[in-house]
């Protein structure tokens, strides 16, 4: 939005903003969102209404893992995860409950949903239809970004080819029926969380955007003016880290590169459709569990990166809470960080000015450098067949694992300073974590039972014939997804399913039967992690000693049970253990507890390490121990790592877990020594 010249009203001050009539004006604030959802649709509805009353201006819905992965709440893989990291949505009845009292025609709703994005959009559309709300008034976003799911987040369902077609299909449908909706957010956020450098973040996500647009172009459903409008609908979801000056330049680079790319590659002339539109959540990876109150300052500084420069300002902002590294935030924690947005937008003078950095020698130089780096990386990716090829070959994943390893390494050596962690660790204890509930949010068991009851009620009340017909229609549409009009047909079939009270699990299962299910590459192959040389030498000697004494190296199985797909921690452990001389069987993500137990037995491992971040540790460890017992293993040697609240450690130990590693146990050398000691103890006294 540039201010037009209006000579009739006299000269303009360079530091003021002018509207179309030449009057001095002020920018409207970005959309204030809070990412949330838990336990049940009804509980989440209360959260939403509370948030709106507190001054949120847009919604950002977090869904639970079963919903994200295409399972109904009563599925065996789902049971331990229902309602933990987000809201369970099993059918349109849950949508009615979640959006009770929310005016859809005036709301801006962002849904963080990917593998099952088409389904959630269909549910939203069906909800609007049942309420008589015109689809043209619906505004919001489905994240619908599969690349980062394969790379970093793990809630994909189908293979890349099919998933891309589904993304293209949502663009085709929205282009025709829901023109104000953002069918997807090209995500760079998760790449940074997985360790990407700024240039990697920009290059990988631009490659991702091109992948989606090329797919849409190839399908030919949207062409000419419609395709240009579609490009104008592409939006991004980015991250902002603690190096906030560099991050601001990164966003300027992003804007300029996007503008250039859509002109050169797709010939878009209308400047409105070349805008880099993005929403943000600031960095969570760098938030610490040590001295967690410091995170409030970090979040504030990171917010500057995405708000200071008008040219590269976000359209929507959601902020993590200060206690993100401890557990899921409570309503108060989210309220507190929402106030930061409100104060910045409404109390300060930030929104009164044109871009503050235009003409800045330093900013423009740094931006140009980042642009060059990102562009070179992007050219490399395109030369090697584009994002999809590099995804399927595992090359992109390996690049991220390498960056993460480098980061962990720098922090361990103190080369990258993290206050409270590797510098200034001593200080007074925080009063903020001494609150009665330990400063953490715990999912409401009663509400979860309520969600399950609602699912049962829906299944009982619905017309089974209508369900069967709707699913048959969906299957047929899925088979013709590649045909002309196939995308729109598939969305319509999904909307029909929604009206028939088909469940999330049934929708996903029907499509799994057509598209197949997918297991992404792990990226650990070829990764190297430099640990402290003296500690590593000691550990390697101990591995060698075990090998000499009993003819086998220490043997570790590492895996993630349940549906949580954040695999970086597990990958780092696997790579580090290999560096120390272990034989590591890496079991991957989304492993059923029974399969992990069998792996422990079949591989005759010395130690089993599991990683859990979704809050379902008690249930899953229980299932794992039961499976091991049924295989004849009375006393397994087990460790658990991840986001485990201190208060749950005794229960885990009672189940037989030898050691729990929480977020404050981040020193890889120390973890390795602990693992080695456990192996040695197990060997000495089996």
């Amino acid at each position: 939005m540039t201010s037009p010249a209006t000579p009739a009203t006299g000269s303009k001050a360079a530091h003021l903003l002018y509207d179309a009539n030449g009057e001095v004006t002020r920018d409207a604030p970005w959309v204030f969102r809070t990412y949330g959802g838990h336990s049940s649709a009804k509980a989440t509805n209360a959260l939403i209404l509370e948030g709106l009353a507190r001054g949120q201006t847009g919604l950002s819905i977090a869904f639970d893992l079963p919903t994200q992965c295409g399972y109904a709440s009563d599925h065996p893989m789902a049971v331990a995860e229902v309602g933990k990291v987000g809201v369970p949505i099993n059918s349109i009845d849950d949508m009615h409950a979640m959006f009770a009292g929310v005016p859809l025609e005036r709301m801006n709703t962002s849904m963080t949903i990917n593998g099952t994005a088409m389904w959630l959009l269909a549910l939203y559309v069906a909800l609007a239809e049942e309420r008589g709300v015109p689809l043209s008034t619906l505004r919001g976003t489905t994240q619908n970004d599969i690349m980062k799911e394969y790379l970093a987040r793990g809630t994909y369902v189908f293979p890349p080819e099919a998933s891309l077609r589904l993304v293209a299909a949502t663009y085709e449908y929205c282009g025709q029926r829901v023109p104000e909706w953002n069918p997807s957010n090209v995500c760079s956020y998760h790449l940074q969380e997985a360790g990407a450098t700024p240039a990697q973040e920009v290059a990988f996500s631009l490659a991702n955007a091109l992948l989606v647009l090329d797919q849409i172009k190839a399908r030919g459903e949207l062409s000419g003016a419609a395709f240009e409008r579609c490009i104008g609908r592409v939006s991004f979801f980015v991250n902002a880290g603690i190096r906030f000056v560099e991050e601001m330049c990164k966003l300027r680079a992003f804007s300029e590169l996007w503008d250039e790319l859509v002109q050169t590659r797709y010939g878009v002339t209308n400047p409105k459709y070349r805008l880099f539109r993005y929403g943000v959540q600031v960095n969570s990876l760098g938030l610490t569990s040590a001295q967690p109150e410091n995170n409030a300052w970090r979040i504030a500084l990171e917010t500057l990166a995405v708000t200071l420069s008008r040219k590269a300002r976000c359209r929507a902002l959601q902020l993590p809470a200060w206690n993100e590294a401890l557990s899921l935030p409570r309503p108060w924690d989210q309220q507190w960080v929402l106030r930061l947005q409100q104060i910045l937008a409404l109390e300060t003078d930030l929104l009164e000015y044109p871009d503050l950095f235009e003409g800045s020698v330093v900013v423009e130089s740094k931006t140009a450098a980042l642009k060059g780096e990102a562009m070179a990386l992007l050219q490399q990716i395109l030369a090697q067949g584009g994002a999809q090829a590099m995804l399927e070959s595992g090359a992109l994943k390996q690049a991220l694992v390498a960056s993460m390893a480098a980061r962990v390494d720098h922090i361990a050596r103190g080369e990258q300073v993290v206050v409270g962690v590797n510098r200034y660790q001593e200080g007074l204890a925080s009063p903020l974590v001494q609150a009665r509930d330990g400063g953490r949010f715990v999912a409401d068991r009663a509400a979860i039972d309520d969600a399950l009851a609602q699912l049962a009620a829906t299944k009982k009340a619905r017309d089974p014939r209508r369900v069967t017909e709707a699913l048959a229609g969906l299957t047929a549409a899925a088979r013709s997804l590649a045909a002309p009009g196939g995308g729109v047909a598939m969305m319509e079939a999904s909307v029909t399913c929604a009206h028939a009270r088909v469940t999330t699990g049934e929708w996903a299962e029907a499509l799994r039967a057509v598209f197949g299910e997918y297991r992404a590459s792990t990226g650990v192959e070829g990764a190297r992690l430099a640990l402290r040389a003296d500690r590593v030498a000691g550990l390697r000697a101990r591995s060698a000693a075990l090998a000499a004494a009993r003819g086998r190296r220490p043997r570790l199985v590492v895996g993630k049970p349940g549906l949580d797909g954040h695999s970086n921690g597990a990958e780092m452990i696997a790579v580090a253990a290999r560096e120390c001389g272990f034989d590591v069987i890496y079991a991957g993500i989304r492993v059923a507890p029974t399969d992990l137990a069998v792996a422990y037995v079949d591989e005759d491992a010395d130690l089993l390490g599991i990683s859990l971040l979704s809050g379902s540790h008690l249930e899953l460890v229980g299932e794992l121990v039961a499976a091991l017992n049924s295989l004849g293993v009375r006393r397994p040697n087990m460790v658990v790592g991840g986001i485990i609240p201190q208060v749950d450690v005794p229960a885990l130990e009672a189940l037989g877990v030898a050691r729990v590693f929480g977020p404050s146990d981040y020193q890889l050398d120390e973890i390795m020594e602990a693992l080695m000691a456990l192996v040695e103890q197990g060997v000495a006294a089996p």
């Binding site: 390697r540 003819g551 120390c580 034989d583 069987i585 399969d595 089996p686």
Partner: protein, 327 residues
Amino acid sequence: MTELARADTPAQALAWCAAARDGDRRALAKLTSLFERDDPAAWPVRAACMAQMQAAGATPRAVAPLAKIVALTGAPGVGKSSLVGALLTHAMSKSVRDVAGTGPRIGVIAVDPASQASGGALLADRTRIMGIAGAPHAMFRSQSSQGALGGIADATASVARLWAHVLDVVFIETVGVGQSESDVATLATATWLVLQPGAGDHLQFLKAGLMERADCFVLNKVDMPHAAVTKSQLAGAVRLTATGAAPRPVHAVSARTNEGIAALWGELTGVARATSASLEGEVLRRWCERELGRSAAQILADNGGARAWAERAGGAEAAWLGRVKGS
């Protein structure tokens, strides 16, 4: 006192042998570790186990004594693990089960390279097929190559020898390319080379020495574009290198869509079963090479080969028990 002496007594190991043949997964896993151990204290126990199994005769369900051993080799990324998963799944299907309703027991030894620097290894072949690898009829063991060239460790030969007496089919999954004597092609009764589309034109196929060692060629990922071109190039190269009457079989499969998997399974009917002699011979030859060093080949040639030399020394295990001083 080594760990072995405390935990793996001969009596316990023999009990494991019986249990493993009855289908006890944990017993087989423990027994397998015993056979993997690079530990002289393990030799007498292993000898006792082999003696008992050889005396017991045929594996519980098989008609003929020992398992078929198939080496699956190919470059990283061609899909060996996924292929194994598809075959394991297929082995559960009705068409494969016998009259009694049970199917073949299948073992998979997946070998990955060890780190030169640390000696450790990242074993991720099981990852993609965690579910089926844990099925009742399957036994999946990941192994480090321990720095051996040619892709397999002594432990691989040792475990193959054990499993041949307990299971019906053993797959050995390696990246080994058949360049040296002590490789998987001599251990297995058949070698299947796995390739993927776009892996190179027909000249590349002809150049690699592995064309000669393979008994069968599997072109995986045939659902990918350009698969047809690669298939015809491969078939052409196979015809060119045919020495006998018929060119070796080429299977076009997709582990993802299951195309061609049933036909590939059928290839097993032509695969020979292992023999005690060949398995012992291979394990023994590797041991000799390690113990006798560079003069191994000459010493064995002068003494009528590893087998004859071992028999004179009182049987394979006895040979290992005795220390060789000179020839």
